[in-house]
């Protein structure tokens, strides 16, 4: 396999090296909020003594962007963030140095030059397991399937602009349920990205409200981030 092309930007006459880090977020690390994750990664850069690029201007800070933030409590198997280095250091070395100083549960898988834009992202695959107190897995699956079979799935989505009533039905691009020993396991594909982003817990919470019981989440995982043309976000 050949080394992918480097992406180099020239800023104020100096080359900076653009990277997209793909990482796994699992275990206790899934409770790191998006805001906290920014600080966490920034400190990891500091510990690794990597020459990261700082933004220009009055209040310089480490340049770090996330194409698709991961909600609190979700694991991710191939998430990404973009950053820049001011020196040309081999990707393998950067990966190694970062992993040496990452907290438990965050593992950098590889570094690549950014290929796609965040706006290209259209949907994502999720796996989610939950249970409900006093409801058997069998009963739970039956109830859930009935809930998703309806013509409309009304719920309220809270955003910065305030609460908004939406219909989730058209967002269920794929929804498969399966019983487990303690609840049900869902495999879902939902709209994701800057235009429309639907988290799977929104669906399950709506279901919870419809039956009057709070779901007990066991595992929520984003498995794949997909672009409009069906290819993986790279």
């Amino acid at each position: 396999m050949s080394e992918p092309q480097k992406k180099i930007t020239v800023i104020e006459g100096k080359p900076v090296y653009d990277y997209r880090a793909f990482y796994r977020k699992e275990g206790r690390a899934k409770y790191i909020s998006h805001l906290d994750l920014y600080r966490t990664v920034q400190r990891a850069f500091q510990r690794a003594k990597l020459p990261v690029w700082y933004t220009l201007g009055f209040n310089p800070h480490v340049y770090l962007t996330y194409a698709l933030p991961l909600a609190l409590g979700y694991e991710g198997v191939r998430e990404s963030f973009d950053f820049r280095l001011t020196e040309d250091i081999p990707a393998e070395e950067v990966t190694r140095r970062l992993n040496e100083v990452m907290p438990e549960g965050i593992v950098i898988l590889e570094l690549l030059p950014p290929a796609r834009k965040a706006d290209d992202i259209e949907r994502a695959d999720y796996t989610l397991e939950f249970s409900m107190k006093g409801v058997s897995p069998e009963e739970l699956k039956a109830q859930f399937d009935r809930f998703t079979a309806g013509e409309v799935i009304e719920t309220v989505k809270h955003s910065k602009k305030g609460p908004k009533a939406i219909n989730l039905k058209p967002a269920l691009l794929r929804c498969v349920s399966k019983e487990t020993s303690r609840g049900i396991l869902l495999s879902l594909t939902l709209p994701a990205g800057n235009r429309e982003n639907i988290n799977p817990t929104l669906l399950v919470d709506a279901f919870g409200k419809s039956v009057g019981t709070e779901p007990d989440y066991r595992n929520i995982r984003r498995d794949r981030i997909i672009c409009g043309d069906g290819s993986d976000f790279r």
Partner: protein, 614 residues
Amino acid sequence: MLKEKLEPLLLKVQKPIRYVGGEYNSIVKDKAAVKTRMALCFPDNYEIGMSHLGLKILYSLINAREDCWAERVYAPWPDMEALMRENQIPLYGLESLDPLTEFDFIGFSLQYELSYTNILNMLDLAGLDPIAANRKNDDPIVFAGGPCAMNGEPLCDFIDCFQLGEGEEIMLEMIDLYQKHRASGKWDKKAFLREAAQIPGMYVPSLYEVSYHQDGTIAAITPKDGAPEKITKRIIKDFDKVFYPETFIVPYTEVVHDRAVLEVMRGCIRGCRFCQAGFIYRPVRAKSPDTLCRQGKALCDSTGYEEMSLASLSTSDHPQVEEMLDKIIDYTQEAHINLSLPSLRVDNFSGELLEKVSRVRKSGLTFAPEAGTQRLRDVINKGVTEEEIMRTSKIAFEGGYTSVKLYFMLGLPFETMEDVLGITALGQRVVDLYYSLPSKPKGKGVNVGISVATFVPKPFTPFQWAAQNTYDEIVEKQSALTHSVTTRKISLAWHEVRTSVLEGVIARGDRRLGKAIWNAWKMGCKFDSWEEFFDFDKWKQAIADAGLTMEFYASRERSADEIMPWDHIDVGVSKAFLRREYERASRAEVTPNCREKCAGCGANRLAEGGVCRV
């Protein structure tokens, strides 16, 4: 491992990250490979507990021993507590997620009195009986340390033993003794505690009997089973060589103090008469500039922190303050670390250092005159003069500053209405100063923020005999203050007075208050230092139900010969010295600081060779 049971709850609470551990530099060991497990508890929430330097030191110190594993425990916020109780999840250590009942020791840091109900609540949440006498032989040893342990009497019902003074040595001695007792094969907690009482600085309250006079004052404090008559607090003699963490746990979420901290000094040479810390940490000891630089670099490298601060009671009094600041500023600038400096007395600094310091200092302009008139500042022995405030403010205003913060206390002993009104008068003179300057910032007004705390008399201070102002007295003084402000340039602020009243009751409390703390907790009191949870009526009831009154503890002047509940504790500073200081206060006589002239406080007995190195 409670992971399975915890998981479904975590998305139902605010900030689940508080409850899962796993932070960078947190230490996970194999529990089968350690002999002793220690839970280091802070009886407040994660954000506050994670900011506490003392616990960071002890965490690293204990974990440096291969045979021990120390973990952190904080008070779960009420939303999490409710879910834990509902789902039978006991309080657990953040590193292992194991219940506290599996630990050998449960230690609490006592930083403020209003955290005490959280101690009972945490023990209960751990499935332990908060009452020490009811706990079983095999239950963990519950101990406590920190400044409030100097008068731990109100907690005697709940705590097996107190570590008095600095913990770096006594902690390890306590663990050694425990391991010896455990290794003997026949574990007897009582026998362990009896022997622990022989460790200098270890106070085992069950080995002391307290009797009372008819009027409620103490008649005698009698040791038994060979416990020492006086328990002398511990200090680290060679402070430059004392253990200091090479690294801190780096929290994910923002905590109150989220930065590298250097402990530059312990103790203080000043002797402000209201300040408990100024007396209980004597004698003063400092770290050398080189040690500090080395420790600062190690911390920043291993944490990735880009911010550093200095911890001490009065950094300006460091014996080599200029060399220290010079070196630390050089290091932090070179390493792109933001240094936050406290307000410094810069009078003697060289021009070059002054310039360096002013480049670092971005924080606002603050002064703590504590009292409104020079007479009252002499009463409290606070060496801030009006001239100093005016001089520094002038320089700052000319340099572009437009706001000043002034900190005061209300209810100080020997305070008159003139002193009270002196607070706003001083504020007014700062306002006037601003407008008198031709070179003031153009087109901008000035803001003088006056923050007024309520004075609470504390044990081991010259004011330990004094009556605390009652609630009504304070409110009257506050209203006089409010009415004396005639300009919008001055803003006044204060906290809830009732919490100070309660703090005053507990701070100088005796053992009988344990019942009141128990009653309050039973009525649902917790997080008492948080205004949204503080319930004064419940506390009133709790104290009355215990057959006690607030007035007896808070607003009563003690006589010179009264036995204080903490008289069997020796913090170095003698009672005779404190009394002398109280009498000098009554005459508004200042006492020079340790460097100018030793006042003979008695703390030198604790220092190497019996001599203070100020």
